[in-house]
């Protein structure tokens, strides 16, 4: 260890939660140090205890939690024995939190200025006047345009990116020693995340602060952090400087996590390596190595004896019985070769779905507005969009929030009634309203929703939910036994055992719930399944399981998908055709490989550039979209993207709607810049420099 005094040092910290009368161990024997100027990453899946640990570093615990042993040293001073009253002089002054969901973390009833000023008035004794002008300066520092106006606004009047800038301005207002960033970009679009990550890094360095960056996003961690600690089941699995951790992971869990990230470079016919099983709950943590039950290389000793947290190199620690074998190369992990999915027929040229000229607007003016007159602002969510899906293929729809991709999907399944547009499913014209659709159409067109927690009835068992769909939509009357058999088949398809039929959604993990939702969608043997962000609420290891499942089902059942996602890597893993949407229109579409290569629409280019690569050696693309998506109430004239376009060529972009350019093989781009020039500009797309992560 070097001789600098760490900003924060945690030694052998254990934290328990009270559940009923029992105390359950949540954090066990964790040690961690963060040096001055260091950005320390804390990764782990949900339930790993990373958020508990992050808040515990601030000596902030839930009401039913206690620190059972260990110490937390802030500049050498132990925080553990301090009372809450004493901590109030440290919170906000030396320790600051940048929270996960900025809208929820700001008080809805006070202005931005008031909420920032509160901190400096309290800790630096500024007057009301001084504190407000300081708030304006701070907002300018986090690059908020027109800070004088923003201080007077309320949180809900700002976009997500702006809200997150406000919370960081608030956290930095007193020049704290340590910033704790708790999943600060999880709720943001990838383009906004890229801008915010740059800002964080600059500000943390400028303020000479240290930071703990908590995230489940291995890409963001790789790009942000100097050192990383990996947590699992309440324990530290590994801790290392960022480069060796990603380049040569020594812990099977770290290896599994890194391998399960979908990467755009892999072909359509491969499956992602996964980590089998689920994370243990607090009550059933194993007595040996916590990861042993899911570890592909566990030995009998791993189940019996907890490995110690050993120092491997300077600044590198690991908790595994087998790290020496892994380092020497004696033990090779089985995750490396990519499994192929079951052979399937290639996509054919018949179209399952053709939707032409679909439009949807919200908020038509009320009777009163029409009588009195005035602003009749409506939202044109989808504007004359046409999509086609070939049999046994996947159409990926990508775009930021507000791009209209979800509204388009909901219009196709008739959860929204499209104002305009013709749709045909399997060559049959279908109505735009749900009432106008026959049983057959309902059967052939199914949807998987974003959040499985909200889409399963909590008072219905999995079996009942599936049986109901079968009974309602099956083409013929079925007996109880037949239905029961079909339920079991479906569960088997999504790799759940038959016992799951009797479970309630509350007894399932997030990934299991999403598998049930997928089973429900497949209950009717549909021709087309629309999946709206099916993995965005899941952990990376669980996401890999769900993506593999979707791929297997496509091969086995011959179904087609429309996959909606903001995660371009996940889309590219599954989709063979991609449409990029911006403000209600498609700006580019084409074969997946073509879309990810030059030439690209400048918007697609920016989206790709914004993805943080899960590899610290890869420089991220440097194209950043400043500002937010314009309000769909006031769609910009000419090219809709001209207000944010980094490649804008001049007045023509503001005046004329761009033409469709043909880039070959059906690859189309809606832009004023000719194809040749786009290729020249984008000759080194951000992806081409990507190095493979060696495992």
């Amino acid at each position: 260890m070097n001789s600098t005094i760490p900003v924060i040092e945690v030694n052998n910290l254990s934290i328990d939660y009270q559940l009923g009368k029992r105390w359950l161990n949540a954090i066990r024997d964790v040690s961690l140090r963060i040096d001055p100027f260091e950005i320390h990453g804390l990764v782990g899946e949900s339930g790993s205890g990373k958020s508990t640990l992050a808040l515990a570093l601030m000596r902030y615990l839930a009401g039913n939690a206690r620190i059972s042993s260990g110490e937390i040293l802030l500049d050498g001073e132990n925080l553990v024995p301090k009372s809450e009253h004493e901590m109030r002089h440290i919170w906000g002054k030396k320790l600051s939190l940048v929270p996960q969901d900025p809208l929820a973390a700001l008080n809805p009833s006070y202005t931005i200025g008031e909420q920032i000023a509160e901190v400096t008035r309290l800790h630096e004794g500024l007057s009301k006047q001084q504190a407000f002008s300081r708030a304006v300066e701070l907002l300018a520092k986090v690059k908020i345009a027109d800070p004088e106006a923003v201080v007077r606004r309320y949180p809900h009047q700002l976009s997500g990116g702006m809200q997150q800038r406000v919370t960081i301005a608030m956290a930095l207002s007193t020049q704290p020693r340590l910033l704790v960033l708790d999943e600060p970009t999880t709720a943001l679009d990838v383009t906004t995340q890229a801008v915010i990550l740059d800002l964080f890094r600059d500000l943390i360095h400028d303020n000479k602060a240290a930071a703990l960056y908590v995230s489940h996003d291995l890409g963001a961690i790789a790009q942000m952090c100097d050192r990383v600690t990996v947590m699992y089941g309440g324990e530290v699995m590994a801790s290392a400087p960022v480069h060796p951790l990603y380049a040569a992971p020594l812990h099977p869990y770290t290896m599994g996590l890194l391998a399960s990230i979908p990467r755009p470079t892999e072909g359509v016919e491969t499956r992602l390596p996964t980590i089998d099983g689920v994370a243990p709950s607090l009550a059933e943590r194993p007595s040996g190595c916590v990861f042993a039950p899911r570890c592909p290389v566990a030995l009998p000793i791993c189940f019996d004896e907890k490995p110690p947290l050993e120092i491997i190199d300077t600044g590198r620690m690991g908790k595994c019985h087998r790290w020496r074998e892994i380092r020497s190369g004696e033990l090779v992990m089985q995750t490396a070769p990519l499994e192929k999915v079951a052979a399937s027929l290639p996509p054919d040229d018949n179209y399952v779905l053709m939707a032409g000229g679909v439009s949807k607007r919200f908020g038509s003016p009320s009777l009163f507005t029409r009588l009195v007159g005035g602003d009749s602002g409506y939202v044109q969510a989808v504007d004359d969009v046409s999509v086609r899906v070939r049999a046994r293929s996947t159409l990926g729809l990508v775009g930021e929030s507000g791009s209209g991709k979800t509204t388009l999907a909901r219009s196709i399944v008739a959860l929204e009634v499209a104002d305009d547009g013709q749709m045909t499913l399997l060559d049959m014209p279908i109505a735009n309203t749900l009432a106008g659709r026959s049983q057959v159409v309902l059967r052939e067109l199914q949807m998987v929703f974003q959040n499985p927690n909200d889409t399963l009835n909590p008072y219905q068992t999995v079996g009942e939910a599936l049986a109901r769909t079968i009974r309602r939509l099956s083409s013929r009357a079925m007996t109880q036994t037949e239905i029961r058999a079909k339920v079991n088949d479906l569960l088997d398809e999504v790799r759940l055992t038959a016992e799951y039929a009797d479970r309630y959604p509350a007894e399932l993990s997030g990934g299991e719930k999403q598998r049930v939702a997928i089973a429900r969608a497949f209950a009717t043997d549909p021709a087309l399944v629309i999946a709206d962000e099916p993995t965005s609420s899941l952990d990376v290891s669980v996401q890999a399981v769900v993506l593999n499942l979707l791929k297997d089902l496509r091969a086995r059942e011959g179904a087609s998908y429309i996959l909606i996602s903001h995660d371009l890597a996940a889309v590219s893993y599954l989709a063979d055709w991609i449409a990029v949407m911006y403000l209600g229109q498609i700006v580019e579409e084409g074969d997946t490989e073509d879309v990810y290569q030059a030439p690209s629409h400048p918007y697609t280019e920016a989206l790709l550039s914004a993805i943080p690569a899960p590899d610290p050696t890869v420089q991220r693309g440097n194209i950043r979209l400043e500002g937010d998506v314009p309000s769909p109430r006031n769609i910009p004239s000419g090219c809709r993207f001209h207000t944010r376009c980094p490649r804008k060529i001049g007045a023509i972009c503001e005046a004329q709607e761009p033409p469709w350019l043909d880039a070959g093989d059906g690859h189309r781009i809606r832009c004023h810049i000719p194809i040749d020039e786009l290729i020249a500009m984008q000759s080194t797309p951000p992806d081409s420099e990507r190095n493979e992560v060696s495992l």
Binding site: Y60, R88, A104, A105, N107, P108, L122
Partner: protein, 316 residues
């Protein structure tokens, strides 16, 4: 905002119009002949006919309705059927004044007390204090007003005579102090009805807000506990409570029939019961219109207050 208020005032007018139709229709279907009822069974045909002519009871119903509504809007609320045929409006206005005094007094007592109890119960959730407040507030809500009223009369007015609180409030004159003395027991009785309701709502509101992430943000700013609670939590937790209080004003003005009877307090509710018993149609119609007006107005004020206090609500 101003457009919203105009729209809401228009809606209020529509509400009043519908109310007038309903109340006019209802008074027509009350069984029995009004003239006979008022003049007695011995009244001769001529006397009955004169009475009907005097009060326009012979006109076709639509004419009667239009005449009544037109008069009502211009301030001529007609005359009572009772002896001497006094004008309705001053009578109703006097009683309305009394009811408003009682409502004001009730709010002054009940609002701070019940909010305080609710906040205490929430901050000490599941403690003995919380349980005590729950039991007390629920048990007084469960008791009918005539029971709590009689208990207060026997226990305080008659039991502790030295306090000098009158058991009945028959003299609507005198100094402010006299007024307050007369109002204390009736408004305490009404407070008991509101107490549990407002306290439970406040408790639930505070508990809801305490769970929200902004409370953690405020705490981790290093703010003192009382600032976290009073500045951050209460500002949001009391929003629903405030609207419920505004809504209860309508009830306090027109709905305290039982309490007014128990204390013999000359309020609007007691007058309404008399008017129904006597089939005093014009009086009844006027009272109902006034009561509904205050209900609707309280509703409007509640919505506006909510919008003013909650920056997330945009009124369009």
């Amino acid at each position: 905002m101003s457009r919203y208020i105009i729209r809401r005032l228009l809606l209020l007018a529509v509400t009043m119009l519908v109310t007038s139709l309903i109340i006019f229709g209802l008074t027509q279907v009350i069984p029995g002949d009004v003239a006979q009822l008022i003049l007695g069974r011995e009244a001769g045909e001529q006397a009955l006919a004169d009475f009907r002519a005097e009060f326009g009871l012979d006109d076709p119903l639509p004419v009667q309705y239009v005449n009544w509504l037109g008069g009502f809007v211009t301030g001529d609320w007609g005359r009572s059927f009772t002896s001497g045929n006094p004008a309705v409006r001053p009578l109703v206005m006097e009683r309305l004044g009394n009811s408003m005094r009682l409502a004001t007094m009730t709010l002054i007592i009940s609002v701070p007390v019940s909010i305080l109890l609710g906040v205490l119960a929430a901050l000490w959730e599941d403690s003995w204090l919380d349980n005590l407040i729950s039991v007390l507030s629920l048990s007084v809500v469960g008791l009918p007003e005539f029971v709590t009223g009689l208990l207060l009369i026997n226990g305080i007015a008659l039991g502790i005579k030295s306090l000098g609180l009158p058991a009945t409030s028959s003299v609507p004159d005198g100094t402010l102090e006299d007024w307050i003395r007369q109002l204390i027991l009736p408004s305490l009785t009404a407070t008991f009805v509101l107490l549990g309701y407002i306290a439970r709502l406040t408790r639930a509101g505070v508990l809801d807000e305490l769970k929200k992430p902004y409370v953690r943000t405020a705490t981790l700013k290093g703010l003192p506990y009382r600032a976290v609670i009073f500045k951050h939590v209460l500002r949001n937790a009391l929003l629903p409570t405030i609207t419920v209080i505004a809504l209860s004003v309508g009830w306090l003005i027109g709905g305290l029939v039982v309490i007014e009877n128990v204390y013999n307090y000359p309020g609007l509710g007691a007058l309404m019961v008399d008017a129904v018993k006597q089939k005093n149609l014009l009086m009844l119609q006027a009272i109902v219109m006034v009561t509904i007006f205050f209900f609707a107005l309280a509703n409007l004020v509640a919505d506006l207050l909510y919008a003013v206090l909650n920056p997330r609500i945009r009124l369009e």
